[in-house]
């Protein structure tokens, strides 16, 4: 034993060992097309898939009209729908059976039925009842469409009142109260703006956990772990060394994801990019440690990967506020979301992306995210045992 070696190994983490492990792990990934695909191609595919498919906006809803009134008044009313981008007329008909058939076959999602006495009611100042039939099998779209139809009805009503008042009083009249909508941070209410930050979180969580889920198990399965633990290598050195390459890969993924959001999906990044990447690094450490811990505990690759996928993907997708707003969840489920780390990360990402806010507002989310990452890292160290049993 020479002195230099003695010193290097007694003072905590040996940089030489960490470097040796990180370099070896990098080589493994670069030589294995499966892990390369998982590390680089899958994230891009997932972002494209989610970005295009998971569009929660409703536009050009196929609409069928049954105008039983057939008067100038009813045509005015129908024209209002045609003028909006939300509805596209696919057909007209003159009975309810045709409506049922069109909705059954999916040709139309909405049917607007104007009763025979529409013009009479309007002109007599009585209540005119419009029937709107919505295909409720797609609840989300159905709900949105119902809202749109009501809005159109209100516009028609307003126009009518104003016209009447003008005819009666002569001069120009305005409504006593007028509601003007303005959606802050996302003026067009594009769901993509909301989705892209969420996708980045999901992709990072899942990919990071799966990437590291095999790293320890594989060595146990191949028998290389037994050789490795006969050396003076320490737990922390193995954890840091093995996580480093995946951290670099994960960070590359985040960069690609942010770039794709910017240039493919046109999602503007309003806030501080440095803060975004810092928070992403914290989140990444937690996610990588989660996969590592699972790998160290289970010692078999197939099982570890499945558990990593299940334990990260579903909670992150369903309980992080990515698709379903946490505020709308039942109390019990809402309590569970506090244990879904992506919840904090998504809140931070949306804050940075859309509101351009910083830690002064989001410090609590950032604190919880950091605590989680620290906890998982500590757990990864604890669960890696350099012993046989």
């Amino acid at each position: 034993m020479r002195d230099s070696r003695e010193k290097a190994s007694t003072s905590g983490l040996s940089a030489r060992r960490v470097f040796a492990i990180a370099r070896k792990e990098f080589t493994h990934v670069l030589r294995d097309w499966r892990s390369l695909t998982l590390a680089l191609a899958i994230p891009v595919m997932l972002i494209l898939l989610f970005g295009y498919a998971l569009n929660l906006d409703v536009k050009n809803v196929p609409t069928i009209v049954y105008d039983a009134s057939g008067t100038p008044e009813s045509r005015d009313f129908v024209r209002l729908f045609g003028g909006s981008t939300y509805f596209t007329f696919v057909d007209r008909c003159d009975n309810h059976r045709d409506i049922a058939r069109a909705i059954d076959r999916g040709r139309a999602m909405v049917a607007i039925v104007i009763p025979t006495d529409f013009a009479e009611c309007v002109n007599a100042g009585r209540k005119a009842e419009i029937q709107v039939i919505v295909d409720g099998s797609d609840a989300n779209t159905g709900r949105l469409v119902t809202g749109y139809v009501s809005a159109v009805g209100l516009i028609y009503y307003r126009n009518l009142v104003v016209k009447r008042a003008e005819q009666a009083g002569g001069g120009a009249v305005s409504m006593p109260v007028s509601v003007e909508h303005r959606a802050w941070y996302n003026p067009e209410l594009r769901s993509t703006n909301n989705i892209i930050p969420g996708i980045i979180a999901i992709v990072m969580m899942v990919i990071a956990a799966i990437l590291t889920s095999t790293t320890v198990a594989k060595e146990w399965e191949l028998g290389t772990m037994e050789q490795l633990i006969s050396t003076p290598v320490r737990v922390q050195e193995l954890v840091v060394g093995k996580l480093t390459p995946f951290f670099v890969i994960g960070f590359l993924d985040v960069t690609v994801a942010v770039a794709m959001g910017q240039w493919i999906f046109g999602v503007p990044l309003r806030g501080n990019a440095a803060l975004l990447f810092l928070m992403a690094a914290v989140f990444l450490i937690g996610a990588l440690s989660t996969g590592f811990m699972i790998s160290a505990m289970l010692k078999t690759q197939v099982l570890a990967t499945q558990i990593a996928l299940l334990s990260t993907y579903l909670p992150t997708l369903l309980l992080s506020g990515f698709v379903f707003a946490i505020e709308n969840m039942p109390q019990a489920i809402r309590a569970i979301t506090y244990f879904v780390p992506a919840r904090y990360f998504i809140a931070i990402m949306r804050g940075i992306y859309m509101k351009g806010i910083g830690l002064d507002v989001m410090w609590f989310n950032a604190l919880l995210l950091s605590l989680w990452a620290l906890f998982m890292f500590a757990l990864a160290n604890r669960k890696l045992r350099l012993k046989l049993d």
């Binding site: 034993m1 230099s4 070696r5 003695e6 290097a8 190994s9 040996s14 030489r16 060992r17 470097f19 040796a20 492990i21 370099r23 070896k24 080589t27 493994h28 030589r31 294995d32 191949l222 028998g223 290389t224 037994e226 050789q227 490795l228 633990i229 006969s230 050396t231 003076p232 290598v233 012993k387 046989l388 049993d389």
Partner: protein, 328 residues
């Protein structure tokens, strides 16, 4: 504290390891002197690997004590790991890394400086005969190459004690011989070599051997000692026609303990060689087996082990396991 045992590299007393109800290593005690080639011989499942893993600090003993390089195997594993090189039974280098990458990895793990690593790495490549394959992926190398490279990686840091767990299993005879030359070389430089094997010819190469069977050390000594002192029975070498048929008949004789096919003849185990010699000869004549020669021979290690294992089995009221042990 180590004044009395300065020439002892490995010392074990009452070492026991249980897996549930199964006792893999049962109250084992022995000492290994510095610079010695110590062979741990026994059939598969006898407890060789379990013992070696405990000595390397990879596995905790259930009870008993052990010291390696003066350090306690239950408490000072980190210190032990700096003093040893270990080569596990399974090939344990990274198949998707090249020869050089494997060497560099283990060099880094053992904390070698760049200059040391360069020199030692070259030594390993030369020793393993991999000069033309330094950039080949390790997975495509033949068994002998892999095994020498694995040894090289395990001793990059020049440890004073080396543990080799069945290093030559699955390797061709030429490579096995070359591997043992390496072991001799290291032993000559004062390195202690602790090696397990189930090849009897390799047992002969060791300075001292311990025979382990069913978790128990049933014999310990130099190969010569075991052959002369531990063998109370004598061996007759019988060269006859149809040895396979003759074997059953000879086994019936009262003065014969055991008969085994050995090469083209038979080895007859007997407490009294001169008596057995005449009785076997008359039996073969009577039954019409022609024979070339019957003669007393000094027992081989294999004879010794088979007879010791049989003894152990009869003490344990077990039969039948002897043949399994010999096949293994």
């Amino acid at each position: 504290m180590k004044t009395e045992s300065t020439d002892i590299a490995v010392s074990v007393s009452g070492l026991t390891r249980k897996f549930g109800n199964f006792v893999a290593v049962d109250n084992v005690s022995f000492d290994v002197r510095k610079g010695e080639i110590f062979g741990f011989i026994g059939p598969n499942g006898a407890g060789k690997s379990t013992t070696i893993r405990m000595l390397c600090g990879l596995l905790m003993p259930t009870s008993g004590e052990g010291r390696v390089a003066g350090y306690d195997i239950s408490r000072e594993q980190e210190k032990i790991k700096k003093q040893i090189g270990y080569m596990s039974q399974k090939f344990s280098l990274y198949a998707d890394l090249t020869v050089e990458e494997n060497i560099n990895f283990y060099g880094g793990i053992y904390g070698l400086k760049a200059s040391e690593l360069k020199a030692r790495g070259e030594w390993v490549i030369e020793m393993a005969g991999l000069t033309d394959h330094r950039r080949s992926l390790t997975g495509i190398l033949s068994g002998g190459w892999k095994q020498r490279l694995a040894l090289g990686c395990a001793i990059l840091h020049e440890p004073p004690i080396i543990f080799l767990d069945e290093p030559t299993s699955g390797v061709d005879p030429i490579s096995r011989r070359a591997f043992w030359d390496l072991i001799y070389e290291m032993s000559a430089r004062g390195v202690t070599v602790f090696v397990t094997t189930h090849y009897m010819d390799e047992a002969e190469y060791c300075d001292r051997i311990a025979l382990i069977y069913r978790g128990l050390v049933i014999a310990l000594g130099t190969p010569q000692e075991l052959k002369t002192e531990r063998m109370s029975d004598e061996i007759l070498d019988v060269r006859c026609e149809n040895p396979h048929d003759a074997m059953d008949e000879i086994e019936e004789l009262a003065c014969v303990k055991d008969v085994a096919l050995f090469g083209s003849g038979l080895h007859v185990v007997t407490p009294d060689a001169s008596l057995a010699e005449t009785e076997v000869a008359s039996l073969l004549n009577e039954k019409g087996y022609g024979f070339d020669a019957i003669g007393r021979i000094s027992p081989s290690l294999e004879d010794v082990f088979v007879s010791l294992i049989e003894e152990a089995d009869s003490e344990n009221d077990g039969g039948g396991t002897m043949r399994e042990a010999r096949d293994a």
